[in-house]
Symmetry: C2
């Protein structure tokens, strides 16, 4: 489910810390996404992870700390999946499409992560909302860089940084909101959902990069 971390193998050694921590976080994401932050207990997380509660606290701290660590890890894994999915040598539409595919594939394959990342963190508020805002900021920067790069590769005036950032914020918000909608409609395949957003924004952005602008009626 997640990118492999280096595992030191040895004779009859106890599990390396990184492996143990990963097991605990997998268990925690599972429990948090099923029960919500408040109802989730360290007892249940330690049971699912198969370690004692004192060990759980020793490894990853309080429930609040554990939850924050889970948000950071899931966010990082997701951003890596998206950045890794975008092929920088492809034309802009294909780059955007591969980024959207990577995003919806990630959400589809890691529904528990998305629950924790998005629904749980935003319904908890406070420091978790701040973690989430930080992650959104990174996503917006990533998309803005892609948009600036795309518009530079065409013959139209390049998109300003500020314009690109605002379009990126709109696109990230659209993706988040659609992924959240998708959680309640899991029967739709990832490709269909991704392609719907692609069509909405690319056939839009596609017109924009060709300089086709929509005008209100008074200016027609």
């Amino acid at each position: 489910m997640h990118a492999d971390q280096p595992v030191r193998t040895g004779r009859a050694k106890r599990l390396p810390r990184a492996v143990r921590e990963r097991q605990i976080m997998d268990a925690a994401v599972d429990v948090f996404s099923r029960l919500g932050f408040h109802a989730a207990s360290m007892d249940e997380i330690s049971e699912v992870a198969g370690i004692s509660k004192p060990m759980l606290y020793a490894y990853l701290g309080s429930k609040e700390e554990l939850f924050a660590t889970c948000i950071r890890r899931e966010a990082t894994v997701m951003m890596e999946a998206i950045a890794g999915g975008v092929e920088p040598d492809q034309p802009p539409d294909v780059q955007l499409w591969s980024g959207l595919r990577a995003f919806f594939d990630f959400v589809g394959e890691n529904r528990a992560s998305w629950q924790v990342l998005h629904r749980q963190a935003s319904s908890q508020g406070g420091p978790f909302a701040a973690e989430l805002a930080e992650m959104r900021g990174r996503a917006v920067s990533l998309v803005a860089a892609l948009l600036v790069h795309s518009s530079r590769s065409d013959e139209v005036p390049s998109t300003s940084e500020q314009e690109a950032e605002s379009l990126a914020a709109a696109l990230v918000g659209a993706g988040e909101s659609l992924a959240d909608w998708w959680l309640d409609h899991p029967d739709e395949p990832a490709g269909v959902v991704a392609s719907r957003l692609m069509n909405l924004v690319w056939m839009g952005f596609g017109d924009l990069v060709q300089g086709n602008i929509w005008h209100p009626p008074s200016r027609r």
Copy 2:
């Protein structure tokens, strides 16, 4: 700032309850948006509203209840502004444009409301996040109805309810996210921000209602 409510005038009467409550909520929205939910105190709200703290509690309950009431009122006022801005007899693009204009005009003229509605409520989580989710649901239904209506007025196959709802969720998320970005870039006029989103989604949706679909490279 808000739609007028009926005010009973009389000789030297005390203020009617509805007027008093409106004053309190205006004060509360102001204080919550400036200080955030946690730092806001009932002392400060009662000072800004110009009434005693016991009266404040008697009218609108605890700080939690007052905050929830504010979210509901601001959400309702905003939804009325948007629904009132859309002219049902206009072509779909003009309807969408007038809805987006009404939304960004509302946010621009009521930045404090938007802070409370969106940033404060989502960073508080819990029951406030639920209020916010309820409001988003209403916004998505409103936009979905508009999209279904638009696509029926063209000669292309009508958008399914489910497809419309998912596109509406994307659009509402894009609007929310862009409005939130705008709070940090208040130098841009409402019309510029609205027109940026209009171009992103309409030139997109405009192609879609004409049956112009984006295909991944393998199917070209």
